[in-house]
Amino acid sequence: MSYRIGIDVGGTFTDFLVVDDDGATSTYKTLSTPEDPSVGVLDGLGQMAADREIGLEQFVAQVDRVVHGTTVATNAVLTNDGAKVGLLTTEGFRDFLHMRRGAKERPFDNKMPYPKPLVERYLVRGVRERTDYRGEVTTELDAAGLSEELDYLREQGVEALAICFMHSYANAANEEAAAAVTRAALPDAYLSVSSELLPQIRLYDRISTTALNSYVGPIIRNYLDKLIERLRGIGFGGVLLIMKSNGGVTTPEHAQAVAVNTVLSGPASAPVAGAQYAGVHGYQDSLTVDMGGTSFDVAMIKDGEPALVNEGKIGPWNLAIPVVDIVTIGAGGGSIASVDNGILSVGPASAGADPGPACYGFGGDRPTVTDADLVLGYLDPDYFLGGTMQLDKERSEAVISEQIAAPLGISVHEAAAGIYDLINVNMAVGVREVTVRRGYDPRDFPLLCAGGAGPIHAGMIALELEVPVAIVPSESSIFCAAGMLMSDLKHDFVRTYKVELDGADLDRLRAAFAEMVEEGRRTLEEEHVDVDRIRRQQTADLRYLGQNNELSIPLPEEVLASGDLGALVAAFHRRHDELFGYSTPEIGLELVNLRVACVGATEKPGMVEQPYDGEDPGAAFKRERSVYMRNRGWLEVPVYDGHLLRHGNLISGAAIVEQRNTTILVLPEFDLVCDRNGSFVTYLRDHADAGPSRYVAAGATAGSGT
């Protein structure tokens, strides 16, 4: 037997998905160990070995692939706990990183502090050198002055260095010269050079991304060194891959060199998993929604691929690399509800895990979403986390009654239902943002629900958005770990070529693409990817003449080869109208950047197909329970054990499906069917995509059995 393991190290839990040769899966959760996350990883591997009643080394010897996602870099940035970085900039522009182009996110808030610097100012050093906007060096690098600055930075004990000079995207000569001096002077320091990392216009974006790379570089380097050492120590001889923010994976060596690529890697694998789970039912477009304790992440899948944006943000800093387009809002099970002068609001403040919702009994005294879910009967106080944690429903009722129901003059159940509705609307706004800002209608996207708290709320989010289908994978609580095993090796490249499109030198375009494709091929080759498993996507960043922001439009090889860019131009006008409310075809276009994404396909684990078991869910029936729904009052609904539901079993809402780590609320408007992979598909009963036939195995028709 051989195994593949996806490992998602989160803030609280480390999730594991183990897949064997036959596609059979098992899941594990261990407590994360933030001081050395590899400890929690080893704990999990130990449990897996124990479950299989073999020794750790014997088990590990059978593991041929580990894909690993980590929030180590994310947390370092969010808690100001990165490496001590020395930043070398063009003399005269020391503060451009910290200035953040003058943004104040909350303009009227007189209690908001100025962001702490990523690099302390005494470690930001100006270097005499200059390249102009054409890429001509107007001042040669002052190597002697640079050496003095490097001596100073060495004395200060920096662990990492970042170099970002003006207009280096147009000519890297001065940066390359400075990098050579720096490598010789501080050979052990982690070094990031902006023209290597991101040869792209916009000083702040480039300086921020380069500094972030050095800020997290030594941390990722040390962390992965330690993890590799530990894995080798127990005899692991397989392939280790690291999850990136762009939804792809890479080797540990590349992750260490371009550490910034892991900064948003935590949730990036969710849409990769989503694409797979939705794809088995023929949906090329879908949305993943992941509701945890404090935050709600939404990502879009379009044409079978996670949607990307060309720039992200972490904390107050810009991250100008392609990242999976994830919108995170402050909404989760721990979100706190309050009433101020008759206006009910929920979140973004959260009770987190400590003290947590009032019903946890850890001292929380504010009403939360989880308290509302409990009061409404959606959660079973005796079966939370499979019954390992008892919830106190009376405490929930007391805090909701006192803090919400009384000031609004409504009953405790109406108040709880109000909390439930409002958090759902907040989440629906996040879903809408992901779709509408790209010009899509959320009604065309089935929801893929991840996270323990999500499936109680997904139905209402779907109703709010008029989304007809919501799918809850059986691995929903470890969705990201599952996505990691489905991710491909992926590298992004960009070149700035600023020119009026009409006058663009197509040979130069072709050469730039060819250069990036070659770089991608070389990188993937180093990662041992066969040439026939490489595919690529080429895009052009275009805008109307005079605009300052671009839209990325696909520019396939055939179009470029034909020499006629008419289709590209038409696609741009169309997209512009969708997104911005107008287009002006009479105005010419300007090309700004060329981009290539190179993907090396990995072997995906197969999904186990269950035999068809017929529609009757009777074997999974547990009992009836009272739940409260707005405009309907108290209803007696059947509760089913999700672990016992089988392929084809059909449930008509209202109903509840419970698993150890997840509860699904099936609203009265929905039916639920267990699909051939064991995922639960809910659909609006009166919609075109209704009926179980689409979701059960081919040949198995509703009611026929096998």
Binding site: R121, Y122, M166, R202, Q547, N548, N549
Partner: protein, 563 residues
């Protein structure tokens, strides 16, 4: 007010409030990403909002308060003027300060939103244009003595009628405006308003007009109640504050008083500006909407900053003006500088309320100094216009709990974004030489003021400069004041060095033509401090000395810092 117990569902009201906010944000993304001028696309000098059929605010983005809070007065005028003569697809253009607007260069697009044949709401976008005609390119003419010399006046006019562009109106407007990008930016504003209409109609289709109206009424009433209850926590009384405008463009030594008496009583707040000086001879007059916008800005900083921005917010506010004064000029006064008096009006209000609302007031902010640069770019032989957002970055005033923000700038435009310097050099024939925090510019205090910025660049083309601002040390403008024992911030300096080596220190409101090769050297000052410097943590002081933001000499003299 309505509230608990009325028949509107409070949950649905909150839901629809969120939805309005989301729509205005979507409109803003559209304008930001598709507009041409650096003012809109890089600096985000615009607002988007939704308003009800009477012209009252439903929601707007957190953006430029001086632009946004002046929409309702203008919109009410438009509604009164057109009455029933409005149809789906109409778009009305407007900028006229004598019919409710704040500044001619802030051009607005008003789109009525109809549902089932009925006017239900308005989607509005409004932004600062790179030019609006008049005597000087870039919309700031310090020599103007009346409105006609400074800008094209656009009283309400239909730019689109039932969805069709009125080419005659379009041509009339843009025949009077210098740069083609202004027309492009107006396309972006119209697109943003159309997005707002599309999205609002979806909401109306789903919930119906009655529910929508009831929810909006509920939210405005609830917001009003929140504002009133916050205002009741302020001690009742009348509080006076003053500031002085220095140099009116004609007389560098002129001083014009801006005075406010703030009366707080029983949850209402009245701003009486009638003690302010007479209107100035040139463009340093603020249409009355500017003062009311700054009053809202100041109060928003003193109450819960998350309070919804709708009509309920401003119901408890009252205003008094003396017609013919510098903050309520009479036609045909020039007013191009009016927005830029906003920081002085804010200064007067904070002077009045600073000690009353101690924990949420700020010390004085930097008085901004900026410039509009125009000329022909020798690289492209095309005209260029650059608005000096990057040089307008001074320090904010310190507050009770936090240091003033560094490199922030205009209090009437706090969401403004600095141009990226590489993009700036690509678009405009300037070579940037220095752009860094200005050490020793912060007003000392337990919380220090924000730091100002030093900017040095070279003009690589002959350029016309329309300098506008205040706070020049050479004009003896007052420095930003400290609060509760905090010390004052610093003023601004500006020196031009011509290629022949001659130096010139221009005034704060002046037109200067410079040859290629001239060097611009500006020190934008820092904000005032809050609380005694003796109470500042030694660790913070040592850190700033180490970082080169505070000289050892100043640290020793003011903070008793020993190295």
């Amino acid at each position: 007010m309505s509230g608990p117990g009325t028949d509107i569902d409070p949950v649905l009201a909150a839901v629809l409030g969120k939805r309005m906010r989301a729509i205005t944000e979507e409109m803003a993304i559209g304008v930001r990403r598709s507009s041409r001028s650096s003012g809109l696309s890089e600096a985000a000098d615009f607002v988007t909002g939704l308003f009800d059929a009477k012209g009252d605010m439903l929601e707007q983005i957190d953006c430029i308060p001086v632009i946004s809070f002046s929409i309702p007065p203008a919109l009410k005028g438009i509604i009164a003027q057109y009455g029933d003569d409005l149809a789906p697809g109409d778009v009305i253009l407007h900028n006229d300060v004598f019919s409710g607007a704040n500044q001619m260069a802030d051009l607005a697009v008003y789109r009525p939103v109809f549902f089932a044949g009925e006017l239900v709401a308005w989607a509005v976008t409004k932004g600062h244009m790179a030019d609006i005609g008049g005597g000087v390119a870039g919309a700031y003419n310090p020599r103007a003595r009346e409105v006609l010399q400074e800008a094209l006046r656009v009283p309400p006019v239909k730019l689109y009628e039932r969805g069709t562009l009125r080419r005659d109106v379009w041509d009339l407007v843009f025949a009077n405006v210098r740069f083609a990008i202004v027309a492009d930016d107006v396309h972006a504003l119209v697109g943003g308003a159309r997005l707002g209409e599309r999205k609002l109609v979806e909401v109306l289709e789903r919930y119906g007009v009655e529910t929508f109206r009831a929810a909006m009424t509920y939210l405005a009433d609830a917001t009003e109640a929140r504002v009133r209850s916050e205002l009741r926590s302020f001690p009742d009384g009348t509080y006076g504050g003053e500031s002085w405008l220095v140099n009116d463009g004609f007389d560098a030594a002129a001083r014009h008083l801006i005075a406010v008496d703030v009366r707080i009583a029983d949850g209402e707040i009245e701003f009486d500006f009638s003690r302010s000086g007479a209107q100035a001879p040139g463009y340093t007059n603020a249409p009355r909407t500017v003062a009311s916008c700054m009053a809202l800005t100041a109060v928003l900083m003193m109450i819960d900053p998350d309070i919804p921005h709708n009509a309920g917010l401003y119901r408890p506010f009252g205003f008094r003006f003396e017609p013919g004064s510098i903050v309520d000029p009479e036609p045909p006064a020039a007013t191009g500088f009016g927005n830029h008096i906003g920081d002085l009006i804010f200064e007067a209000i904070m002077a009045a309320l600073g000690e009353v609302v101690a924990d949420r007031a700020t010390a004085g902010w930097n008085r901004h100094l900026t410039c509009i640069w125009t000329g022909e770019d020798p690289r492209t032989e095309q005209p260029f216009v650059e608005l000096g957002y990057m040089i307008a970055r001074g320090g904010a005033g310190a507050a009770a709990d936090v240091d003033g923000w560094d490199h922030l700038g205009l209090v009437f435009n706090p969401m403004m974004v600095t141009q990226d310097l590489e993009v700036l050099e690509l678009q405009t024939p300037f070579t940037m030489l220095k752009y860094e925090f200005l050490p020793d510019s912060a007003g000392p205090g337990r919380r220090r003021g924000g730091l100002g910025v030093e900017t040095v660049f070279r003009f690589d083309a002959p350029t016309s400069c329309s300098i506008l601002g205040d706070g020049l040390e050479s004009e003896e403008a007052p420095a930003p004041r400290g609060l509760f024992g905090g010390m004052q911030g610093t003023g601004n300096t500006l020196t031009l060095t011509f290629p022949d080596g001659r130096e010139y220190a221009p005034g704060s409101k002046e037109l200067v033509d410079v040859p290629s090769g001239t060097i611009w050297h500006q020190r934008q000052g820092g904000g005032g401090g809050f609380g005694s410097p003796a109470e500042r943590s030694a660790e913070l002081v040592a850190g700033e000395v180490r970082d080169g933001l505070l000289s050892t000499e100043r640290a020793a003299r003011i903070y008793n810092h020993v190295q």
